[in-house]
Structure formats: C-alpha cells, structure tokens
Amino acid sequence: MSACTLVSVSTVLGCHSCFRVDMFSKGTKRKFSDDGGEMSDESLGGANVSSSYNLQRQSLLDMSLIKLQLCHMLVEPNLCRSVLIANTVRQIQEEMTHDGSWQAVTEAFCNGSQSPSERLVATEVLCRSREQDAEPKLFSVISYEGCREEEVVADETLCSVSVSDAASNVCLSESVGHCWETGELRVVESDEETSEGSRLGPGDDDDDDEDDEDEDEVDEEEESSREDSKSMGQVFGTFEIKNGSSGPDSALEELFSDVDASYYDLDTMLTGIQSAPKMGPYDLLDSLAPSHGPPSLGSPSNCRSDLNELDHIMEIIVGS
C-alpha cells in the first residue's frame, strides 16, 4: 500500500506544511554512464541503482532545504527542528562530496553544452564545495532504513539495492518513492493557479513510470538543473515551472512571493533573527559546508559572472 496514504499535511501543534514533489514524472534523474564513468558500476543495473539512490538523496536534500527556508513567519522557528534538518543537509552534502557525485555533476555541467547561465547556482555550489581532501566526517557505510519485505515495490531497483557493503535494503528510496509517486507539487498558502502551474509533469503519474525511469528517460538532471538556476538554486531543483513562458521571474514570483529571503541564511534561521540582506541560495549551502575550499580548477570564471546575474534574479524574485 502506498505510503502516501499515511502522509497528510499536518497542521496540529503548528507543524509546517511541506511540499510533496512528484519525483518521478519529471525528476532529477541522471545517467552517469555518459559522464566519464564517474559513477559507473560494473553493469548498467549498477549505474541505475546508484542513480536512483542519488536521486533519492537529492530529493531528500531538496526537501530539507525547503523545510529550512519556508518557516512560519510569525512565530520563531523551532530551533531543534532547524538544527536537525540542517544536520541532515550536512550529512547529505558530506556524503555527496565524499563519493564524488558532487564533483561528477560539477564536471558535467561545467563542460556541458548548456550555456553557463543555465547552470548558475548548481555549478557554483558544486564548484565551491568540492575539495580534494574533504574532511573525513563521512559515513563509510551508505546504508538505509530497514525495508520490510511486505513493502517492496514492484520496481526492484528501488528496493533491493546495496550501494555499499550494507546489507539492508534501500528503504529510503522505497519510501521516498512512495512519497513522491503520486504527489503533486503544492505550494502552501498559494492560490489555485499557482498550484496548477507548478505541477510537476502529468499530475497522475503512478508507479508505472518508475519502472521505465532508468531505461529510457532522458537526462532529467540537466533539465532540472536548468530549473535549479531559475528557481533560486539548489533548493528548488526539483521544481519545474510549467507556465514559465514569460521567463522564470514571473512564475517564480508567483510561487515564492510570500517567502522571506532572509530565511535563506541558515545562521538567521538558527538565531531566529531576521536579517536584512538577502543572500544568494548558494550561500545557504556555503554556510552549511563544514569545509569548503577554493573552487576547483574546473570552475571557469564564467561561474562568477553568472552569479551576478543570479543575484539580480534573486532581487527581483524577493521583490526588494
């Protein structure tokens, strides 16, 4: 039975509503087999497996960043919750740095054919976070929550994977898969039009798509990364703005009009004090990264100029 039935937007005790993102209709899938074998395992199955783990991990990262940023505006955010989410983000980022997926994506985009302006923040984030000798605050075992047999979904790649030596099943992906499979992007406190416009892909995708995802989907990662830069960077990487024909700004404005940019600053979050300057989204990850060195050599200077453009977009979006 789908875990989606048990997930309901909780409003009791001031819980904050969260986004439910349809990950697999147009998700952040990517294939690493084209990327110089950075993530290539022995077989195509292996690559698919690690892709789908990376996918899940990415979605968890996105979800966490959203949670940090979209806090209740009137009441001081819950510090314990913020700290726990921030720690989760750090864990994911450290792991991604460790297993090279940070670097892999960096290289793919820096050398890619897409214009740099469309790679903006994702690139910047990846470039700046990558360090050759990252601190070993890492988890050597990439293991997952125990997956109960009864909950195995049809798609085996999601459920019976071990990317490392861990014997336990990939229930993270399984449960995330459940989370996302029929969800539609719903923006809290926004009007119907926005919800409609922000639906990810066909609204009634179901499990069937998951089966096909690893085989014949295009490189969704690139597409979503394009959205990354448009939709304020890493955080919103999984959003696809369907009605963005008039450019990114208007749709985003609609989508995030009530989001206070000052909460992008994690430090702000933790101290509960609103700070005036708006920070670029890459700064959020920056403040989280325990160690981020200088940008890797692979990051060209066009990253920098694109940052200014991003800043500009941010200014427009938050209506300053």
Partner: protein, 435 residues
C-alpha cells in the same frame, strides 16, 4: 493477570484548545492541563467513594484560569506563543496549592486556593459592596465568617521573565523545594522560587558562532532526591548528568549517557530519531527513562554506556521515516511517564494509541484513546498494528494510521492506577478495573 483498564472516560469539551501538557500533583488529587491557548484547567479527584473497594474515581473541573497571554516581541517582530509548554506542581506545604506553568519565555508561579467562607456583617458596607449611609447606622456588629459555595481562586504569585533567549522546553522543581530549573534549547537556568529578578545560568551550550550549532537541549530534570543533581538530554541522543556542587557552570558533566549507534540501522534519519524528546527520573531515583522517536530506554544511573532496558514503541514506523520527515511528524516530541512504583512506563503514539510497557515481565500493551473505544466502564481492548503482510482481524495496518491523532502527553497518578491521556483536544482519564 495483566491490568485491565476500566475506562472512566472523562473529556473536556471538544471546543477546548489543543492540550499541551498534563501533570498530576504529588498526591494525585489534582490533575492540571495546559493548552495552546495559554489556559490551565485543573481537575480534582472526587473522593466521595474512596473507601469503597470498587470505587471509581472521577475527576471534575476544579479551577480554570488564563495563565499566559500571547505576546509580541517587537525587537524580533515575532509572536511569543501563549501555549503552555509545561506545568509542574510544588509539594503542598499548606492549604493552598502551587504550580509553575511556563510558555516559551516566561514561567509563572500560581497559587490555587479555596475559599468556602466569606465575611458577612460589615458595618460600613452592604452585602453587595455598596457603602452604607453612615447616618443610618445605629448599632455596631462584628462581622462573622459564613459558609459559601466553594470558590477556587488562582492568583499569580511570581513571574519569572526575561531569562530565556530560546524556547523553554522544561521546568523542574528541586527536592529542596526552594529552587527550580528551567531549560531552553541552549541553556539551563536555576531559580529561587522567591526571587524573580535574577536566575543563575548553570548550563550553556551555545557556540560562539551559531553556524556551528549542531546540538540543542531537549529536556532537563532534577533528581527526585539529590538536590544537587540534574540531567539534561540533547537532540543527539545523549543525556548529561551534572552535579551543581562541582562547579558553578555545569558545562562539564559528571556523567554522559549515550548508547553507541547501531551501524546496521544507519540512515540519514538516524540522528533525528535519536533525538530525545523527554527524560524522566524514576520515583526511586535509581533509574531514568528517555524517549526518542521510536523507543523508550531505561537507564541505570550507574551505567553510562548503554541503557538497561529498551522498548520499541512503534518500530513499524522505521520504514516510514521519510514520509514522517516530509510531514514533520518525525519532529513530534512524545513524553513518557512512570507509574507510582516504577514497574510500568507509559508513552504515546499515533492514531490515538498509547503504550504501556511493563518492565519486570516484559509485557506491553497498546491501547486507544477515542470516544468509540472508550465507553464508560468498558474495558479497553488492546490494539495491534500490522506492520506488513497479511492483516489479521482487529489489526490495523500501518498505512491506515492517522498521524494527526497523536498522543504526546500522558500522566500517571503517583499512587493509584489512574492515568491521564491527552489526545489533541480531549483529556481521557482511565482507571484500572478492580476485580
């Protein structure tokens, strides 16, 4: 046999605000609840039939008062919620009762006193308070006390304010009956009950740079007998015991209780579910109990490296952690409590389920607090959750659980087998059936 709970179903009106704390006083005669609207409602045990062996206790409303009001912090442009986070009773010293109630920022000491007589026969004023015309007074009389309908008054005696930058999560009265502690996310302060304009900071875990913050204080409590000892728990699943005699600032713990992580269960959610939501000493003072998201652990105060007992509350949720993270339920803070003789512990769960865990015989039972299942005098039926596979009759499957119906607050009468269980809007009081 296992104790059966004869449900003496009592509930507050459905219009009541969300209950945020429940606490029996030291005798168990009074039961206080705090709610999201800043109100405190106190129930009193009906002692009429106590002598009878088959007595059923009823709890009736004794006093209701507004403890905290919403405030606005102009400096930060933020509201300060009036929600009552904790209530703690003081041991009774005289006819009046005293309790501490706290919201996120301010602790208040309330005096609850009864008045069942009133003076009558004043010379200079009428019974209704109007002044008498002095020219009409021809005789003098001595006012006397006459019985009146019982009136229960609650008056604020102390307000302990401006000592917490972060949200208060715990208060605990010391066994010396003179001091108490209050804990927020990063600090623990020590107060004297008589002194409101200053408190003593005894724990401070705030880092110099807030960006380095990775751990917060989640609960704190004084030892029930040793007035120099207290513990505080953290979001990383550790408990630190401190001795106030050792140093003024108790940043250095005297004991650190932590169980090593099980590497096979590691996930991105491991830390979150290890965060301790409640810590309670046993009445004996030899043990303490902690509640994290999925389990209850009992610690021997002499053994720091692992708990002596671990009970799974709702292990079937382990595979649902991502969903629970998404809907924020993973951050729910469940409380736990001991029974009078420390043989049973109790904690809440979802779907209005609560769990009673018997220590010596290692038995456990899941019960439900709902109107349908709690008709008066009916024995509560045990519930079972089907984690997967074929669902047996009477079992409920994990996916059918209602995660909006959570029981975060429970309390156990200090002497009798009477429990108070708070669902979102209702208070249930259950009593063991005496055969």
């Amino acid at each position: 046999g296992s104790s059966k709970l004869n449900s003496m179903f009592t509930s507050v009106s459905p219009k009541a605000d969300i209950i945020s704390t429940v606490e029996f006083n030291h005798s168990g005669e009074l039961l206080a609840t705090g709610d999201k609207g800043g109100r405190v409602v106190i129930f009193q045990q009906d002692t009429e039939n106590k002598s009878l062996p088959q007595c059923r206790s009823e709890y009736n409303v004794y006093s209701t008062f507004q403890s905290h009001e919403p405030e606005f912090d102009y400096l930060k442009s933020l509201e300060i919620e009036e929600k009552i986070n904790k209530i703690r009773w003081l041991p009774q010293k005289n006819a009046a009762q005293f309790l501490l109630s706290t919201n996120d920022k301010t602790i208040k000491l309330w005096k609850i006193s009864e008045r069942d007589k009133r003076p009558e026969g004043y010379n200079l004023k009428e019974e209704d308070g109007r002044c008498r015309d002095s020219t009409t007074i021809t005789t003098l009389r001595v006012p006397v006390f006459r019985p009146m309908d019982l009136m229960v008054e609650a008056s604020p005696r102390r307000v302990f304010a401006n000592a917490h930058t972060y949200h208060i999560n715990s208060i605990s009265v010391n066994s010396d009956n003179e001091t108490y502690l209050s804990a927020d996310d990063l600090r623990v302060n020590l107060w004297h009950l008589e002194i409101t304009d200053r408190s003593f900071n005894i724990v401070d875990i705030k880092p110099a740079n807030m960006e380095e913050l990775t751990e917060v204080i989640t609960a704190a409590e004084f030892h029930p007998h040793q007035c120099n000892t207290f513990v505080y728990s953290s979001s990383k699943g550790t408990i630190r015991m401190c001795d106030m005699r050792a140093s003024a600032l108790c940043d250095k713990h005297s004991k650190l209780f932590e169980e090593p992580e099980d590497p096979s269960n590691r996930s991105f959610f491991s830390e979150i579910i290890s965060s301790i939501s409640d810590v309670k000493f046993s009445h004996s003072g030899r043990y303490m109990m902690t509640r994290d998201y999925l389990s209850v652990k009992i610690w021997d105060l002499n053994m720091e490296n692992r708990p002596v007992e671990t009970y799974q509350v709702h292990e079937y949720l382990r595979s649902k952690l991502c969903s629970l993270y998404e809907n924020d339920c993973i951050f729910d803070k469940f409380e736990c409590c001991w029974n009078g003789n420390d043989s049973v512990v109790m904690t809440g769960s979802y779907n209005n389920f609560f769990r009673m865990l018997e220590r010596t015989q290692r038995r456990d039972i899941t019960l439900e607090a709902s109107r349908e299942s709690s008709k008066a005098r009916q024995v509560l039926k045990p519930r079972r959750v089907c984690a997967g596979g074929k669902r047996k009759k009477d079992e409920i499957s994990v996916d059918s659980l209602d995660f909006n119906k959570k029981i975060l607050h429970t309390a156990w009468h200090p002497q009798e087998n009477i429990i108070a269980v708070a669902t979102t809007n209702n208070l249930y009081i259950f009593q063991e059936k005496v055969n």
